[in-house]
Symmetry: C2
Subunit: 341 residues, 2 copies
């Protein structure tokens, strides 16, 4: 079984954008505020948007299941207030839930949180509980920078974040550390902010002692771990200079990297320097890079091909494609069984 | 000849820190403001600080020459006003000049600029001209984020930066894009802010059209180009999606990566995906990572060993160690000749 642990609903019907427009317009003119029921997206529309995109690509590329969450850049926690964020998270998560109901063999759900910069992540617990307990979600996306490129919240190791970690541990769900769009003109979203977010989070984990307090807490750092595997010597060296334990003990029991690295040499490096048990298959399709690599003739984000081409055993590949993903998402197997019933 | 294009004076005598303390204290109590002549560092102190560190390591590792600039994290453009920045740049650059005078065969100089967030880089031209024309400096360090982790200045492709680029072209000097310390708690300086700065700058160059306006402008992106080589497929793909020319045409005639990547697999990747002519030897010693890699028994930052171990021809290695560095720093050879006279 081949499980893509990182896919967003980037192809949602345009009514979702219209809904968001009205939500943001309501920040100026409150009479425009839409009610949840105003979304107006039919099951057929969802079916079509997935059939023509994610499902088509699953079939073409030979992957079985996508761990599916709302569009990452669409979370845009920087806009609006807590009420905006809560409604937006609910709307987006409900669309993911419906996608999984419509295609129970192809998608399992991960949620977006109603984060707001400067407001305790405690405010996200009700939505997380709703998603996991009522809707069968198996994980969450945690934005380390809800300010959207201004990095105003404390590091992920700060006690500020502990309420959400306590709930994650209780529910046994991992978080993908995933920023959203950038409103800082210095940072291109998918070309800088995403990758910087990954690198930043990993360094925060090195600096802190979070996993002493939460030994079972699990994070996936997407996009191949940002810059980290390429600079693995730097991170091992920094940890050592800071008198931290070796990374394998200090963070790698709790932190995992996905394979959203869009060329063979990058995946080769990832598999060479990062322990096998820390690598989770992912493509983030349909996502940041949509084109075909002229040097290969295949889509940049068809990452399965890069894993297939690795000089590692079939068992090792199965671990990346399936075993590790199931281990990091403890609720996956039961949920999938439930969906397939 | 082996030229390390990236070394900072991280081992300056402690009087430099005391001077800085008084400078910053003067922001509160102006009577404490030190005069330039108060620095009080003797030639013998400089000699000793270099003999025991950079020169010792040059000899041990078999490198010949370091392109030497003030401590990057010490630039700290975020503190103080324009007068602070100008005096601090002058003091730090003068120390570099004296280092090169004392060891004319071992060091050539690159300067720090008196940047201040939100103030036109035009204010840096007098110091740049002084360094290049009067003191024989061959390049500069340009901080893309003088706010120190808040990223308040426009992208490097913005016309905001053009005055300094015009002067760089006129003087024929390249800039290393190098952030300084971070006062944003989210970003560890050498573990996140440095690498993020590199990644961010490269993506800005992809987004913009800077090199149409300045076809001879040259930038070195340090720390192996941040996350870029590891994500080379992503950057090629993003450029393609954005209808930009291939990276080789669009940015790689003007942008170069150094080899400050502290493990063999990272350097292997760098040399595999990045055109040979874009790679410049560097170690940033004595710098971010000071320890010995327990897996090799050698210093993490002894990057010469990684280049030596590459499966490329001796000519290719010479290009990384010397040829490319001389091409990117057009004033290097004449300056070195002058220093050795």
């Amino acid at each position: 079984m081949i499980i893509d642990c990182h896919g967003h609903y980037t192809t949602a019907p345009k009514e979702l954008t219209s809904f968001r427009d009205r939500q943001l317009a309501a920040l100026t003119d409150s009479t425009r505020r839409p009610a949840d029921k105003d979304l107006g997206i039919s099951d057929d529309q969802i079916r079509e948007s997935l059939e023509l995109n994610q499902l088509k690509l699953q079939r073409q590329r030979g992957t079985d299941l996508t761990i599916f969450s709302p569009r990452a850049s669409g979370m845009a926690h920087q806009f609006g207030d807590e009420a905006t964020a809560k409604q937006w998270a609910r709307i987006c998560n409900d669309l993911i839930y419906r996608s999984c109901q419509l295609f129970p063999e192809n998608f399992v759900a991960v949620c977006q949180l109603p984060q707001v910069a400067g407001i305790s992540p405690k405010n996200c617990i009700p939505e997380l509980e709703r998603c996991v307990k009522e809707l069968g979600f198996i994980g969450l996306n945690l934005n380390p920078d809800p300010s959207g490129g201004w990095w105003k919240d404390p590091p992920l190791t700060d006690r500020y974040w502990y309420p959400i970690y306590e709930k994650m541990v209780e529910l046994d769900v991992p978080a993908m550390v995933h920023v959203s769009s950038s409103c800082n003109p210095a940072f291109h979203a998918t070309g800088a902010h995403y990758i910087n977010g990954d690198t930043t989070a990993f360094m925060q984990f090195i600096q802190g002692d979070l996993f002493k307090d939460f030994p079972t807490l699990k994070f996936i750092i997407p996009h191949g771990g940002g810059a980290v595997p390429y600079h693995w010597g730097r991170y091992r060296g920094l940890a050592q200079d800071m008198k931290r334990p070796p990374l394998e003990e200090h963070v790698m029991k709790n932190v995992f990297f996905d394979t959203c690295v869009y060329h063979q040499p990058g995946i080769d490096l990832l598999s060479k320097v990062i322990p096998l048990e820390n690598i989770l298959f992912a493509s983030e399709m349909v996502g940041a890079v949509k084109g075909i690599d002229p040097t290969t003739g295949f889509n940049f984000d068809d990452t399965k091909r890069y894993i297939d081409a690795l000089s590692i055993s079939a068992e090792a590949k199965a671990q990346i494609f399936e075993g590790n993903v199931k281990r990091v998402f403890p609720r996956l197997e039961a949920q999938l069984k439930k969906q397939k019933r």
